[in-house]
Symmetry: C2
Subunit: 358 residues, 2 copies
């Protein structure tokens, strides 16, 4: 399929969380229907989608029926099993493509890919047991951070090693899973670029945002980020190089550390990204619609920023602030329709529009 | 019910067209679920709603089951039968209230209400047969326009009377329905105010937009409208007076003619309004979310305009322009998911963001 999909076509989305929910809303603006595939009952995306399939990610029969019912397949998270992707891809295109998924599903593959492009990353080493961890510490030094190579998300499966004597406890926390030791980067702040590449190879980047994390979870993204004009260009060029190297179609999030010696790639996410939620309040076309445009073969939309914005996540009991936030001027509220409040759970976010730009 | 509804509550919407669709999307942002009640199959709002009931507006059993399943009831159009409203209101609150519906369902009641508030309207007279039409023409003069008192929408059920000899044909076009003759107003342009009133009686108005109609259907709304500062104040005060007099809860559209002798009320619509679609691109909280906030007892949101915007409707074959529009910078596309293109049918709209404001 290289012709653009027409309004009325159906987009299949793997995952029914908040990203799938906001993708479904964006797709509706362009006249597309969405079919959500999600193992969990009553997924947030299901409230605003034309159809929902409730089945596990390894149910090949359900996956095939899902693929038959849609025109293109995308996903809101990157940990779909390989055999499931094989079954889906035999029936309909998956966008972003398998290479993007393979690279971002596995931290070492990701770092090898990035350094292969000549991009700077933190120093890293593969760890498979206590001995390789000792070797890695000897080479990289401390402080460092040990992460499982797969399934990391919002700070889970990670342990800090402040000094060599922390090694044993850190390795124990990995539960025997293959891991990667990453050296600490001396960075002043983190920014992220939300970038998109269309089916025709065109690339569009949103203005980089500045991220603040708390307890390993994104707390806020502020636009504009503190970046010099040359850092801003570098950030966009890094994102474009990654998109082109992967022959990528869709929206990609690139997290970058800002250091005196330049920008260092922290990680990439082959999907719409929490740090791009500000685009809902600051651009004619937000990251969710941009992703839908890309995967349906539409021209990329205008991501020019026309306002300063601060995005803040509402985590767990932060939702108790909603009555007060609803009274705030300039504040857009986005709740995800999750029935149960849990500590650390992303319940929603707000976008504060600071001022318009001339 | 005077307590605000909590996220997770369900809003019932009578009507599954584009207004219901965009209300459902806005409700999802605040964590509410929507249940759409619509006689037609596969309504546009159904693609983005948690639940749809397909049943006629006079099916009292279906209406009662619908009311039981929701926490508050609203509507996207004003022609719901009275007996149906009685059945619904016995179970759940209807917002905006019955008085607002009664006034706007019937053109003479509307004009009597407006003139009773001291607001200017076009001269008007009730017409029930050829004789009363002759009397009305003698009093009001020509040119004038004859309209059925009920069910008028987008130019249907209307006939122009340019000279007294047009009277017989105009009356014939009414099919015997009670009608109202309205004198022509010598106006320079039309503006509309999208205004909201909360459950606590607070009022918020969006900046007035300037409307252009083609073939009796709204073509475009441009912000800012051409209005002097005092006209702008007058427009907002007129809307506020109407809202308060009706003890209104929700969003109301007020169409105003701009004349050398002041603003004249054309008509009011007790719902979100086509001429308020620009708020999706120009405000932190759009008219759809503002309506949801009002009817759920939330504080009204910030409707400050932070960009110049031109909204244009996509009518019938205008959807053929979508591929070109998708390439336009600054253009937001909103399609309604209607399967069939028909002449005069509202298929979508675009919002062009002209520039940010400081």
């Amino acid at each position: 399929m290289t012709e653009p999909l027409h309004p009325g076509a159906t987009i299949g989305i793997l995952g029914g969380g908040q990203l799938g929910r906001m993708l479904s809303v964006a797709a509706s603006r362009l006249g597309f229907h969405c079919h959500i595939y999600e193992p969990g009952a009553a997924p947030p995306a299901g409230h605003v989608a034309a159809r929902v399939t409730t089945a596990p990610y390894d149910d090949l029969a359900a996956l095939r029926a899902f693929a038959q019912s849609v025109d293109v397949i995308t996903y809101e998270f990157e940990n779909v099993p390989t055999a499931s992707l094989d079954a889906l891809e035999a029936i309909r295109p998956i966008r972003p493509n398998r290479r993007a998924l393979a690279v971002s599903q596995e931290r070492i593959a990701e770092k090898d890919f990035l350094t292969g492009l000549g991009l700077a990353t933190a120093p890293y080493a593969r760890v498979t047991d206590g001995e390789t961890l000792q070797e890695a510490i000897a080479r990289i030094g401390t402080p460092a951070i040990l992460k499982t190579t797969r399934l990391g998300y919002d700070g889970k499966g990670q342990a800090r090693i402040m000094a060599p004597e922390d090694a044993a406890a850190a390795w124990a926390a990995m539960n025997g899973a293959e891991s990667v030791l990453e050296g600490f980067i001396d960075f002043s702040h983190e920014v992220s670029v939300i970038a998109a590449r269309g089916l025709d190879g065109s690339v569009a980047c949103y203005d980089p945002g500045e991220n603040v994390h708390r307890n390993g979870i994104l707390h806020s993204t502020t636009l504009p980020a503190r970046l010099s004009p040359s850092q801003r260009s570098d950030a966009v060029l890094i994102a474009a190089r990654i998109l082109n190297a992967l022959d990528y179609v869709g929206v990609l999030g690139v997290e970058l550390f800002v250091t005196p010696r330049g920008l260092i790639v922290n990680e990439i996410a082959p999907r719409v990204h929490n740090s791009g939620h500000w685009t809902q309040a600051g651009c004619a076309v937000d990251q969710f619609e941009q992703h839908i445009r890309a995967i349906t073969g539409w021209p990329l939309g205008d991501g020019t920023r026309y306002a300063d914005v601060v995005m803040e996540n509402l985590i767990g009991a932060d939702v108790d602030k909603i009555p007060a936030l609803a009274r705030d001027r300039n504040t857009q509220i986005h709740l995800y329709g999750k029935a149960e409040v849990k500590p650390g759970r992303k319940m929603g976010h707000i976008n504060r529009v600071i001022r318009g730009l001339t």
